[in-house]
């Protein structure tokens, strides 16, 4: 993996003349985890789509850039709310999808190693329908890790999981994605309070940075300072227009 760059996006986006967001400015520091927290419909996912380079349906006026001045092409991995596993492929084939889509030989040894790290080694030959929701998101995380990109964009990847699976996935993702520049879109204040080195609050009024408690992440879910920060984020969400 090459050195993780910072991410920068500023501008406004419309779709068929309807404003989606902006003008806003999003900064995600290099090699750190930034949560973009906000209610549904404020354009959080649109920010992610623009950074991923897939927002063809959008009209965007502004700038998308990496902190090191190079292009973001080939340096981004994406993990969405839906696991996006291909039902006709087994877990190993799913996590090596990127290599095959680029015409490279699937790196099976590395896949075995990555599946080991996400705790799916015993399930590598299964099809997605044979996995639980949590296991499917682990497979999606493994596929994201296989891409080995310095920038990882997360679009509410844990929101469909039950509370326990979600907390476990948060721990796993925080451990395995450490050192990469992560921009994590979420509508869950508790999630942002646990994971973000930086938390950006996105509302119709714009984007504001909220400083999280000091100390390592993932923060302990029931530690008083985590809960206090979660409460503060929720209050800010409630008080925004």
């Amino acid at each position: 993996m090459s050195a993780a760059p910072a991410l920068h996006l500023s501008g406004r986006a419309t779709i068929d003349g309807m404003p989606i967001f902006g003008p806003v400015s999003v900064e995600a520091p290099a090699g750190e985890w930034t949560c973009l927290l906000g209610p549904s419909g404020v354009g959080k996912s649109t920010v992610l789509r623009l950074l991923a380079g897939v927002g063809d349906e959008l009209a965007f006026e502004g700038e998308v850039a990496a902190g090191d001045g190079s292009s973001l092409d080939n340096r981004v991995a994406l993990m969405a709310q839906s696991d996006l596993l291909m039902p006709w492929l087994d877990v190993t084939a799913n996590v090596t999808l990127g290599a095959r889509l680029r015409g490279d030989a699937p790196p099976r040894d590395r896949a075995r190693d990555v599946l080991e790290r996400v705790g799916l080694a015993a399930h590598s030959a299964k099809r997605p329908h044979a996995l639980s929701g949590g296991q499917r998101q682990r497979a999606a995380l493994a596929r994201t890790l296989m891409e080995d990109r310095p920038v990882v964009l997360l679009d509410e990847p844990f929101s469909a999981l039950d509370a326990r699976s979600r907390a476990l996935m948060q721990d796993l993702a925080a451990e395995l994605l450490a050192g990469r520049t992560v921009l994590h879109v979420t509508h869950d204040a508790a999630e942002a309070a646990r994971l973000g080195h930086h938390v950006l609050l996105m509302t119709r009024e714009g984007i504001a940075s909220v400083t999280p408690p000091a100390g390592p992440t993932p923060r302990v879910y029931d530690a008083p300072e985590t809960l206090a920060f979660q409460g503060r984020l929720l209050r800010l969400l409630m008080e925004a227009r």
Partner: protein, 243 residues
């Protein structure tokens, strides 16, 4: 098992009702023969019916195979090329506006009385359902998968073969299931227009000679062949694509 019992029950009830109508209304055998007579005739003429059934079965299978391949290729061409879409789709609909029946004599003229005019009829009749079911499925790849492929810097060709085509196979399977039921219709139309073998030919022949029992026997064999073909295609699609 329950389902088999239910189907058998319905079939027996239907046959009983058929025989009852024939017996009670005292219908002459050249208007409507009863099932007892029809199955009797089927048994005594089994070699004759089988000989013609094999011919029809070959026409149907070849037509289904070639029509399936042609439909598969056409749908992919339409899906990848906006130019092909704009040029070919109006033509595609136009061909469906022409009744296949009307084309049968021309196909016989062009391709002769043998196998290929029937294969062509079967292909014509299944081409549209296969192509349109597969094409629609190819155009409805979940957008999340396409985004993922783009972020993974896939080429359009690999996205097509590794994601869009496999994701659309259930659509292709529905097209093939329809085709399994339509293909025998095409073959029979072809045989009616001009043939010297096949179940359609046998039915015309039997009808002309007032052997309505033999005609019904051929009809029943045709229906059973169609049902078996549909079941086989259905089973194959489930096995291959799980849908």
């Amino acid at each position: 098992m329950k389902r088999a019992v239910r189907i058998a029950g319905v079939a027996i009830l239907g046959l009983l009702a058929w025989q009852a109508v024939v017996t009670l209304a005292e219908l002459p055998r050249f208007i409507l023969p009863g099932p007892v007579l029809v199955f009797g005739t089927l048994w005594t003429s089994k070699a004759l019916v089988a000989e013609h059934a094999v011919v029809t079965a070959i026409e149907v299978l070849v037509g289904l195979g070639l029509g399936g391949i042609l439909g598969f290729a056409s749908a992919i061409l339409l899906a990848v090329s906006p130019l092909a879409r704009s040029l070919l789709r109006p033509m595609f609909v136009f061909t469906q506006a022409v009744p296949v029946f009307a084309l049968a004599p021309i196909l016989t003229l062009w391709l002769g009385y043998g196998l290929w005019s029937k294969v062509a009829m079967a292909m014509l009749i299944i081409y549209f359902p296969v192509t349109s079911a597969f094409f629609d499925a190819l155009m409805r790849t979940p957008p999340g998968w396409l985004d993922l492929a783009r972020v993974m810097t896939a080429t359009p060709g690999r996205t097509l073969w590794r994601i869009r085509v496999p994701a659309a196979m259930p659509g292709f399977a529905s097209g093939l299931r329809l085709a399994a039921v339509y293909a025998p219709i095409g073959a029979i139309i072809g045989e009616w227009v001009g043939a010297s073998k096949g179940l359609g030919y046998l039915m015309l022949l039997a009808n002309g000679r007032a052997k309505i029992d033999l005609m019904f026997a051929a009809l029943i064999v045709l229906a059973v062949l169609t049902l078996l073909l549909h079941a086989a295609v259905d089973a194959a699609c489930r096995r291959l694509w799980g849908s």
